[in-house]
């Protein structure tokens, strides 16, 4: 499933980043890489942007960027 589909409070692990080169690099620079644990904190109306918690800090992502990040939901 995609990071953009998670609901607030849900936790997941990143499995793949399908964004284009520049966005991908930017996302990885912020510590969001394959295997990273993420948790959705909240969503703005219409789901854009999306606030997630990663590596003990909060990161806001555009919906279009979050749509290209594949995750598996934590049990």
């Amino acid at each position: 499933m995609r990071l953009s589909e998670l609901k607030p409070g849900q936790e997941a692990t990143v499995t793949k980043i399908e964004n284009t080169t520049t966005a991908r690099r930017r996302i990885m620079d912020m510590g969001l890489v394959k295997g990273s644990k993420v948790k959705v904190i909240c969503r703005a109306p219409l789901g854009d942007p999306l606030e997630i918690e990663i590596r003990d800090y909060k990161l806001s992502l555009r919906k279009k960027d979050a749509q290209n990040i594949l995750v598996t939901e934590a049990e």
């Binding site: 080169t21 520049t22 690099r25 930017r26 620079d29 912020m30 510590g31 590596r55 003990d56 800090y57």
Partner: protein
């Protein structure tokens, strides 16, 4: 970081993409400080990051003072690693150590310093804590250039590619004075825009692009 300056902090396009300068002297030694755009990374794709990166590559400062929020080391040490990879002289400043303590973190500074191979100073800038030590450390570190081992070793396959690229890059007589070659090789493997542009105009462009393109 500019002495005596009170500046607003913000992060939006147009904010502090220019450098600010200041100077002071410590123990009779005049020091010039240049405040670079604050970034989390040093890619060629972002203007602020490129300003910082190019300054370090072109001006070759005696010392880069890397001031990080100690309450989020996992994110912030990434930039430290990138600076070390740039083969620059780095002094790491763990700022906001009060906040880190509140969060329950215990940072073993001696161990971290040994692992990274660079000096580390803990500060709480808003309360002026550690500033005297920082000035001493800046003076000392700027005057001693330590030769470090590689900040980060990649796996065998990547390391052998880096070595191969460095061997090619060495043949271009203009490059070694301008760029740390290991850094340039790593950036080429990352397909960094600026590194690719350097490769294209290099005397060894054909050999490089055979590997990287």
């Amino acid at each position: 970081m500019v002495p005596g300056a009170r500046q607003h902090v913000g992060n939006w396009p147009g904010k502090t993409v220019e450098k600010k300068e200041g100077s002071f002297s410590h123990k009779g030694v005049p020091l010039k400080l240049v405040d670079l755009p604050g970034t989390y990374s040093l890619t060629a794709a972002a203007e602020d990051e490129l300003v910082s990166r190019n300054f370090i590559i072109e001006e070759k400062p005696d010392l880069v003072v890397d001031v990080v929020d100690a309450s989020n080391l996992e994110r912030n040490l990434y930039l430290t690693m990138l600076l070390l990879e740039l083969d620059t002289n780095v002094l790491l400043v763990l700022n906001m150590t009060d906040l880190a303590k509140e969060k329950g973190y215990k940072i073993n500074i001696d161990n971290l310093s040994q692992k990274l191979g660079i000096p580390i100073i803990a500060t709480v800038a808003t309360k002026g804590k550690g500033i005297a030590e920082l000035k001493d450390a800046i003076l000392k570190a700027a005057q001693t250039r330590i030769t470090k081992k590689n900040a980060l070793n990649y796996d065998k396959q990547i390391e052998s590619l880096i070595d191969y690229l460095v061997a090619i890059l060495t043949k271009d007589k203009n490059l070694p004075a301008k760029y740390p070659l290991r850094w340039l090789a790593i950036k080429l493997l990352e397909k960094d825009e600026q590194a690719l542009a350097v490769a294209k105009t290099s005397a060894v462009s054909r050999e490089l692009l055979e590997v990287v393109a």
